[in-house]
């Protein structure tokens, strides 16, 4: 048994094995921070790399993320005890009037895999709901997705409200009709055209402590 087995079980999508492997490491008194970083998060980092390179398919990446989460659940009580915090919290959602969620879900799963706590507000999310959730969860990041021209302005409105309320969450935007120019125009803190890029951005905006 080793951390390497945990790492491999995620890359090999072995959903049924990971809980036992993590438990075995805990029983062997391996540091929980090490299990988390070197076993779980590093594995998802590798999953992300392989996905970016086009080697891993989305259904495989999602199964890897699910496997990682099962391992994380086993570890969670000990993380709380050891006062190990997630990298940061992201509130994510598709903006009001918009029901497209495939892209948003991918971004959410990838962020989770990178060690962020993800609060998914779903679709058709009003500016106020983003604001409330960001406040409630003290979110470092807010990630908004829009796939319709008619819902892109909601993002601008939302950013305005965050500014008005003096909230310091950083705001990421994305979705097929959005581009870098639009992001600059509405003063978003970041834009990416795909999910791996969203993770890069998030890591840049919320550096590991």
């Amino acid at each position: 048994m080793s951390i390497e087995d945990i790492f491999q079980s995620i890359l090999q999508l072995k959903r049924g094995e990971i809980a036992d492997l993590v438990q075995a490491e805990i029983d062997a008194k391996t540091d929980v921070g090490v299990i988390l970083e070197q076993g779980l998060i590093n594995a998802m980092g590798e999953v992300g790399n392989q996905f970016t390179e086009g080697k891993l398919f989305v259904p495989e990446m999602l199964r890897a993320a699910e496997t990682m989460k099962i391992g994380l659940e086993v570890l969670r009580p000990l993380l709380v005890e050891a006062d190990i915090k997630p990298r940061g919290t992201v509130v994510i959602g598709t903006v009001a009037g918009d029901l497209h969620d495939i892209g948003k879900n991918l971004v959410g799963m990838m962020l989770e895999g990178a060690g962020f706590t993800v609060v998914d507000l779903g679709v058709d999310v009003a500016a106020k709901a983003f604001l409330d959730a960001a406040g409630e969860h003290q979110a470092e990041l807010v990630a908004m997705s829009a796939l319709l021209t008619t819902t892109m302005p909601v993002m601008a409105d939302c950013i305005g409200r965050f500014k008005e309320a003096n909230m310091n969450s950083r705001i990421l935007i994305g979705g097929a009709p959005v581009n870098q120019d639009f992001a600059i125009k509405i003063s978003a803190d970041g834009y990416s055209s795909d999910a791996p890029g969203a993770v890069e951005l998030a890591k840049k905006l919320v550096p590991a402590q």
Binding site: F51, G54, F57, V58, P59, G97, L99, I102, G103, L106, T149, T150, M152, P153, A176, P177, F182, D194, A195
Partner: protein, 477 residues
């Protein structure tokens, strides 16, 4: 005979139908609109008020199929461009659903403008087989809430074809109807001529939207035709087999059919489909794949199985650039539809998974349509085409170039004359500057845009439409 390709056997059609009924009866469909739920309940669906899921019986589907018209006409602004459904050969729907345009001069990809919409309308108007236009989507502008109205009214001004819209807000309806009354001269003519129809997408898997559904129910008494257009994506928003994705898409379409026929029996419906397949590397929606067209062609056959007119997604590409990928994907996603007898193919004009308009692509896509039609028309075995006497007259050796039949046939439909292909010798082609297909397409676009618009609306009508747009800008923004 005409060349016919069949995607589904009779037995397979029956299996899809049975499977779809099973989905509707046992799993049900969710309605986010209370009004829609009430209509379903009043007409015998088993409705769970907590979940909003309605289970729809086979009898309800049968009943809806009885009242749905089997044929109707999509009115062109110019009556000569009316589209009778069903059609003997595939017509084409200009796909401007995307937000981006590839700038004709610079080749740069940028947000679309009203001018792009109008240029595309003018180019498409001159293409053979053009039937219906979708207005462009526009991201920017000072009048965001009246953008859609501007786009529709400008489409009426710059196109003589039927306009079909991805309808978004109920507030837009009165302006569009006022504009049609101005064009046609009376309100009665608006209902009768049907210059405008709307696209209704269900939310895969198995959901009907709230606001959009209400908006469609609001306007149903205008009797505008509705294109039912499910877009389940096999592997993401749909099950990961073509068979089940087709069955689920068909169930979504049947549930829309039931809703609109129960709400207003006799509403003209186009039974369409815009399924996609998943790019497993990115999760993206693919429209240029062979699997996409197998599904939409299969659902075109289901439409005929039900005796309903249809529009199918085709002539599509996921390529970002004009070029070989665009041409190959568009050809392979058009031919099966044409050969299996789809009424309308929705796709020309766009690159990038319906995301980006490209003017020269409209011209390329016309050529693809022409080639596919030629294959579809097949081999003419009529008596007039039996040239035995010519063979006897010329006999062994000699040539047929001087026969009357040759002179007659050389400009006939029997021999398709491509507008864009180069068939010169190598030397002549070099002398001409080695033109390629796209450079010829660009020339055609330039030519069309440089000549005055054919068939414009009278000045006083344009004045009225402009007034309506000004009013909409003021009242809605």
């Amino acid at each position: 005979m005409r060349v016919q390709c069949q995607i589904l056997s009779e037995d397979e059609k029956q299996r899809i139908h049975t499977e779809s009924l099973k989905i509707l009866e046992q799993i049900g469909v969710k309605f986010l609109s209370q009004r829609a739920l009430k209509i379903m309940k009043d007409n015998g669906a088993k409705v769970d008020d907590d979940t909003g899921i309605a289970k729809i019986s086979a009898e309800m589907v049968e009943q809806a199929l009885k009242t749905a018209p089997k044929s109707f006409v999509l009115g062109g602004r110019d009556p000569a461009r009316n589209v009778e459904l069903p059609r003997p050969t595939a017509g084409y729907v200009l796909d401007l659903g995307g937000v981006f345009t590839r700038d004709f001069k610079t080749g740069e990809r940028r947000y679309a403008t009203l001018q792009d919409n109008n240029d595309a309308m003018r180019v498409f108007d001159e293409m053979a087989l053009s039937s219906v236009v979708w207005p462009h989507s526009m991201a920017e502008g000072d009048t965001p809430n009246s953008n859609a109205i501007r786009l529709v009214l400008n489409s009426f001004m710059y196109s003589s074809l039927h306009v079909q819209d991805e309808f978004s807000e109920p507030e837009e309806v009165p302006y569009i109807y006022e504009a049609m009354a101005a064009i046609l001269g009376s309100e009665d003519a608006v209902k009768q001529r049907k210059l405008y129809s709307v696209t209704y997408c269900t939310l895969a898997p198995l959901v009907h939207e709230g606001g959009m559904c209400d908006a469609y129910l609001d306007m149903i008494e205008f009797e505008a035709p509705i294109l039912i257009y499910p877009m389940p994506c096999t592997g993401s928003t749909g099950p990961c087999s073509l068979f089940s994705n087709i069955a689920m898409g068909n169930a979504e379409a049947l549930s829309s059919l039931v809703l609109f026929q129960m709400a207003h029996p006799g509403t003209p419906l186009i039974f369409g489909d815009a399924s996609g397949s998943t790019d497993f590397a990115s999760g993206g929606f693919l429209e240029g794949s062979p699997e996409m067209v197998l599904m939409t062609a299969a659902l075109g056959e289901m439409a005929r199985f039900y005796g309903l007119p249809n529009t199918q997604q085709g002539c599509q590409t996921d390529s970002k650039e004009p070029g070989p990928q665009a041409v190959m994907e568009k050809l392979v996603t058009t031919l099966p539809l044409v050969l299996s007898g789809a009424d309308l193919v929705q796709g020309p004009g766009c690159l990038e998974t319906s995301g980006c308009l490209c003017l020269e692509q409209i011209v390329i896509d016309e050529e693809i349509g022409g080639l596919c039609k030629r294959i579809r028309d097949g081999i003419d075995f009529s008596a007039a085409k039996n040239l035995y006497d010519d063979v006897a007259q010329i006999g062994p050796s000699g040539h047929f170039l001087m026969q009357d039949s040759t002179l007659e046939a050389c400009r006939s439909d029997e021999f398709y004359a491509p507008k864009l292909f180069d068939r010169h010798t190598f030397e002549r082609w070099s002398e001409l500057g080695r033109p390629d297909t796209y450079s010829k397409a660009r020339e055609r676009v330039e030519e069309i845009l440089a000549t005055p618009q054919k068939n414009p609306l009278p000045d006083d009508v344009i004045g009225k439409l402009e007034e309506i747009m000004r009013k909409a800008d003021e009242e809605l923004n």
